[in-house]
Symmetry: C2
Subunit: 356 residues, 2 copies
DNA sequence: CTGAAAGCGCTTACAG
DNA sequence: CTGAAAGCGCTTACAG
């Protein structure tokens, strides 16, 4: 493989800085009891600001980190439920890598439950609860299900939606700005001199598909380049649907100079179709994707795409749900949080400046 | 906050059967001390056979499982190092999912270290040790490096090689039988009526590549179908190398009726090349892969392939390394173990009976 | 708002 | 070969 896959936890921060400093070391230095330190690190409200500061200072100076194993021994292992239906294999495994890594660091346990469709989701949620889930993570496409989120809200289960494009204000969410990402890609293609760009839409049920398309249309329009209907093809985020869509787009009398597929699987399919028509990529047709899943660097030429930090999102989602669970246990109200992760434009070989 | 009690009708194997039975419950029932139970569950040698049996019986009756969090609190979290260089992204993430899941269940922690090539591996091993690794997992292609394994052996570090085709008797290994798997695939193609089968070899540095090729050749020969040189193409396990190899194989005057690529990335490339030549898959040319990585079900038609249980191998490797570390701590000699995982032949749409 | 005590479930010395 | 005691680092009652 040409490039080393991103290692999930390798960089970040040492898995756990094998510190021998305990809560009591902090207590001693801050001249308080261990109890008080415990309160501070758990965000308990009943600590004076002054005391909290003293403790935080000592924590910083000593480089203290909580021993999650000891905490888990006392408090019971916190269980994070993952309710998933049918995201792509690539998405799920990248997400799991991040989520599991963080569970490990947080001393939590990940339990998975599959649910085939929206009808069975209530049962899946109940199974997760029966298995002792303290909080639940909801990746696409379930994260866009109002009824799933509503059900979870009603039963008071801490919830984090992942990779939804239109987050509910009622529930926490970890996501990228799909609109912005698609806008960046469109601008990049424009700046490379492409004017006649075709677009492959994704599954209309997925909110990211809608926003990516909208961003493309809006950005083109802003440049005074309205997109005719024959430059838009409907896909379903699958490779196979990309095959059909790309065939449709490339069999026009006048071909576009670039295709922006709204995910990598469809972009990979577009490359295959182009090659099948003896078109060179990117010389005859530039092709771009979205997500930066493993297939993006498997195909040749490698795909220019928007890198969605799926592993980091899994990590962040677990961090957030763990916070929520602990807030709840501490008797606090759980306020929904929305975390926007940074995406990056990965320019690779499948795109190049337009000719002329 | 107390966790809701588990329903007795538990699922398969709940992540951890949240049993409330402790070591002392077992001790009481077996009429021994907690210390003795601890010795038994840790495989300590200094327990009489009779006592051990009593304890095991009580454990079974009570459904006791050790509380890994409590153990970790006492004994320090066990750290499993993962030394990897450049396996494909798909392999690594599938492996990580299995390995991390098992680490979670075992109360261990996974720490990753990348090493670019064989020259830097010694340093990578030292970094892993500095980070507190108690045992090290070595996936391909490093698992085939004699010098890496030798170094680890010399410093007395418990080691498990993963997915090597030619395991060293000196080190533990978790793998599938690559020879057998390739033989199964070849037999399947033969049974479907194919006689003229081409083969795309993998990176000659990887032991699985060698065995898969050998199995193909041997099986064909047994059937009285020796394979001419023009039916063999050299690949490197990458998509791009598969593109080149497939082009070579399919541009012969007389085309084979099937191509067996020794991994999925190359098989996916072969499909793309076939489509580019306006050949139908599987009607005009059947194509098979090996590994069953996500790309196998991303491309269309989906790939017939040998399913290598990569996630399970990650799980098994962690289980084994944890055993080794604990054996070592208990003062036992670590005897290398070799675990063969089951592969399965996944017949999908990319192959069909030969015509005629 | 803060603290002294007890205990989570297990293992490490130390005995016998 | 077996056990009584102490303690891992943290948190949960219970006080004040």
């Amino acid at each position: 493989m040409p490039r080393a896959p991103k290692s999930p936890a390798a960089k970040e921060e040492p898995v756990r800085p094998a510190t021998n400093v305990t809560l009591y070391d902090v207590a001693e230095r801050a001249r308080v009891s261990g109890m008080t330190v415990s309160r501070v690190i758990n965000g308990n409200a009943h600590v004076s600001e002054k005391t909290r500061e003293k403790v935080m200072k000592a924590i910083g100076e000593l480089g203290y980190t909580v021993n999650v194993a000891a905490r888990a021994a006392r408090v019971g292992t916190l269980r994070v439920g993952l309710l998933y239906s049918n995201p792509s294999a690539a998405f799920l495994s990248a997400f799991l890598v991040g989520a599991m890594g963080q569970c490990n660091r947080s001393g939590a346990e990940l339990i998975l439950e599959h649910c085939e469709d929206l009808k069975t989701q209530r049962k899946a949620i109940e199974r997760l609860i029966a298995m002792g889930a303290d909080g639940i993570l909801v990746p696409p496409p379930l994260c866009d299900s109002r009824s799933a989120l509503k059900h979870l809200k009603e039963i008071g289960m801490p919830t984090v939606a992942v990779a939804t494009a239109k987050p509910s204000p009622q529930a926490s969410a970890v996501r990228i700005d799909d609109y912005d990402g698609a806008r960046s890609m469109t601008k990049y293609l424009l700046s490379a001199g492409h004017k006649d760009i075709a677009f492959i839409k994704g599954d209309p049920e997925h909110t990211p598909a809608q926003l990516r398309y909208q961003a493309f249309i809006d950005t083109m329009r802003e440049e005074g380049l309205p997109v005719p209907a024959e430059r838009i093809a409907q896909g379903m985020f699958t490779y196979r649907s990309g095959l059909v869509a790309a065939r449709e787009l490339l069999s026009q009398k006048v071909r576009p100079t670039a295709i922006f597929a709204s995910n990598d699987d469809m972009a990979a399919a577009a490359i295959a179709v182009a090659h099948g028509m003896h078109l060179q990529v990117p010389e005859d047709i530039a092709i771009a994707g979205f997500d930066d899943t493993p297939v993006a660097v498997t195909v040749w030429p490698e795909l220019t795409t928007i890198h969605q930090p799926i592993g980091d999102m899994g990590r962040a989602a677990v961090e957030m749900i763990v916070d929520h669970v602990r807030e709840r246990r501490a008797g606090h109200e759980v306020v929904p949080r929305h975390q926007l992760m940074p995406y990056t434009l990965e320019v690779r070989e499948s795109t190049a400046p337009a000719e002329g």
